[in-house]
Symmetry: C2
Subunit: 146 residues, 2 copies
DNA sequence: GAGAATTCATTTCATTTGCAATGAATAATG
DNA sequence: CATTATTCATTGCAAATGAAATGAATTCTC
């Protein structure tokens, strides 16, 4: 059969392959985070950013960890409600919010970071000599405008 | 400052990196597909599968192109409503649906496949010697259970 | 071959998402 | 320095999502 001239295989199409593998890895993470700690991926990203930088605004999160501002805002509110971060208004610029970890948040982050590091190590071990290629490929793709 | 012992960088965390790059590439595709043809990614995956295999069920799609069955079902209905595919019930097993391309669907697919192939070529050119590493990395990751 | 169990597609419903609107605060401009 | 424009965070709302329910059809089991 003709099959409409062009031979094109979705299974080899990079955007598709990356979407599938990204979902696969995210699920591996989020299953555990959700089951054991009830933390979504968005909340995890906010937490990591706050943990790293000490005091961040919603805008910072949006820029730093690829999280749409409404998503970042809602994640931050949930974390505040759970007592993992505090949310104050920046006194220098009162449009900005200042997110900081609470002690409970700090404790949780130690756990989450440990798990994430283990996961990362597992992935790097699995990938071995292909890790470099993967990383430079990702960097190249991210640098490009599509 | 102590920064909670463990040094962990989200920017180097593979699940995060892959999620970001996957979204980046998908956006490059879907922007054009949506703007020029009003086709979502789910619809695109259904179309490709139907185009490749001639006659498929919703279950086939779910298995072949990583699309949750409700998503596949809804995408198929939209495509039917737009006259791009036909939807009949399989006479051998009347639980199954038989999706097939219409002539209009076939015409559209020629266009979409052409665009996708161009995109793929652009990506492969950009990646050059890193393409192999990326591909084997993806395959390794997909083969693993997380 | 009757009854139970499974498979398939759709739909229902609660939740999530993302865009746009809002309103408050600051910055820019004439 | 008053007006306009911009930035920031939140919220409203319509659409998308996904898990479970539904119901029809088939397969399994006794």
């Amino acid at each position: 059969m003709d099959n409409s001239s062009l031979d094109f295989q979705l299974a080899e199409f990079l955007p598709y392959r990356l979407a599938v593998v990204a979902e696969h890895l995210s699920l591996g993470m989020s299953r555990r985070y959700r089951a054991d700690y009830d933390i979504s991926i968005a909340e995890w990203r906010v937490l990591v950013n706050v943990a790293d930088r000490g005091a961040v605004s919603v805008r910072d999160i949006e820029r730093e960890v690829h999280l749409e501002k409404s998503k970042a805002s809602r994640a931050a509110s949930k974390l505040e409600a759970r007592g993992l971060v505090t949310k104050e208004t920046n006194t220098d610029d009162r449009r900005l919010v200042v997110l900081m970890l609470t002690d409970a948040g700090r404790d949780l982050m130690i756990e989450l970071k440990r798990i994430a590091s283990e996961y990362q190590t597992r992935l790097e071990t699995l990938l071995a000599e292909d890790l470099t290629g993967l990383n430079t490929a990702i960097d190249k793709l991210l640098a490009e405008d599509f």
